[in-house]
Symmetry: C2
Subunit: 248 residues, 2 copies
DNA sequence: CGTCGGGTTGATAACTTTCAAATTTCGTGG
DNA sequence: CCACGAAATTTGAAAGTTATCAACCCGACG
């Protein structure tokens, strides 16, 4: 039985037994949390990093007026707060959405992986890099796409991420997000999200109900959203370009 | 005479002579380009990275319908495309806005710095990390702030970045951006940007004219934009937390 | 001159939010 | 099993924000 992270990395590089073992070591879930738990907050120093084994987490920034912008959702196989253990940047806050299981990862753990399994380390960096590329795509979503296209694009992207870890099919996926969460991610009001979802449903494109996203017409949806998952699915050629010596 | 990058890094850590020399080596401007030059484009592999010595560069993504979202502006002292030499992520495009001078940096150069001047390397990583944190702040801007606050916040942020490299004062700075560029960065129409700028001017907060941003009432502006430059100015305590051995 | 890129303004249309309220869902305790 | 309350969803109407369209102005430049 593969873990989500192993499954994701397998898309980028074929790991050998030793690497798989090292990976296994990193992600023994050692913590289980209920929904609505804070994992850290802006400005905190020396936080821990985590690998999410199951469940969903949201990372966001809160504004003074109480509104918030969701930067990203983390799904199984994603890292949480890796940046925080390396640098003190004003990071966002993290909060669990569902029940989650995660494993804590220290800086020492990461460094150990870098020295013992450089190929694995590179694959991890690549996955991290993808997660950051998604923030850019998210910015494009919010800045330049209509509410309808934006919502479609976002839900497609989530689907693509979940497929990487085996939690979605071309037909759809389980999605524990409320319309409020979706609204804060998309920069819309929850009420408008509701209308947009209704429109997508009436257009026969997708149905989001009872915690399930179902793609009713995937092709039309991809076309509407001009969705291109290349930046997620590309086989990372990095391993040919960064020899192991680059990460001693 | 300090280079912009040296000036910026000096905010984070006091570099010794050897480190300064290594830094100097990295940024011999070896290329001068006129405005409107493309530096790379989405999906390209194995691109070069650059350090910007003078002038402004824009990084953006283009949508099918021709509209675009500007992800960030690069100002002197910033890196361009570092991610690209390490990973093949679907990156954005880069284009010069003004005349620019830049130095090409290869992966080998970077790796060399990491082995010979780890403290410098860490400072560089920290600066890079800040640049990425700014994308997140940008997302918050576009997603959850009104056009007025968003514009004010963005121009303040640019000012803060420029002050780090000695190109701005508390009074204002030279800014070669057109209202169209600003619009594509802020997710607004150029026409609306014009109106917003007029309003900011009429409110006595800031004047953006003839390529100059002047802060007419910095305190009020900071308050309006709920601007917090902590994530830019914080003395990075990272050097105490990441011993040189972490970057061999 | 005449054109072109940038800036400015007004009028109108479109999109999105806000406010208010009804409806449904769901966990919990009676 | 049902009742209850909190949370989530849904809908309508009105208000507000921003985009679009259509001009016009201005300075740089050939």
């Amino acid at each position: 039985m593969q873990t989500p992270l192993a499954r994701k990395l397998a898309h980028y590089v074929a790991l050998d037994t030793a690497e798989l073992a090292a990976l296994e070591m990193l992600q023994r879930p050692d913590r289980v949390l209920g929904p609505g738990t804070e994992l850290g907050w802006e400005g905190q120093i020396g936080q821990k990093a985590f690998i999410l084994a199951s469940g969903w987490v949201v990372s966001y920034k809160t504004l003074r007026d109480g509104s918030r912008q969701i930067v990203d959702f983390q799904v199984p196989g994603d890292f949480i707060g890796v940046r925080n253990i390396l640098f003190r940047t004003a990071e966002h806050s993290f909060e669990t959405i569902t029940d989650v299981a995660l494993s804590e990862v220290s800086g020492a753990d990461l460094i150990a992986v870098f020295s013992t399994a450089p190929r694995l380390a590179t694959a991890i960096l690549w996955a991290l890099s993808c997660e950051e590329a998604m923030v850019v795509e998210h910015l494009v979503d919010v800045g330049r796409r209509s509410a309808l296209v934006r919502t479609a694009h976002f839900l497609l992207e989530l689907g693509a991420r979940l497929r990487l870890v085996g939690l979605a099919s071309p037909d759809g996926y389980d999605c524990p997000l409320t319309q409020y969460l979706l609204a804060d991610a998309l920069g819309l009001s929850a009420i408008h999200v509701n209308r947009v979802l209704r429109r997508l449903r009436e257009m026969g494109l997708l149905t989001f109900r009872d915690g399930v996203v179902r793609f009713d017409d995937l092709d039309a949806l991809v076309k509407l959203a001009e969705f291109d998952m290349a930046y997620l699915m590309d086989a990372g050629p990095l391993l040919q370009r960064i020899p192991p010596t680059a990460a001693p």
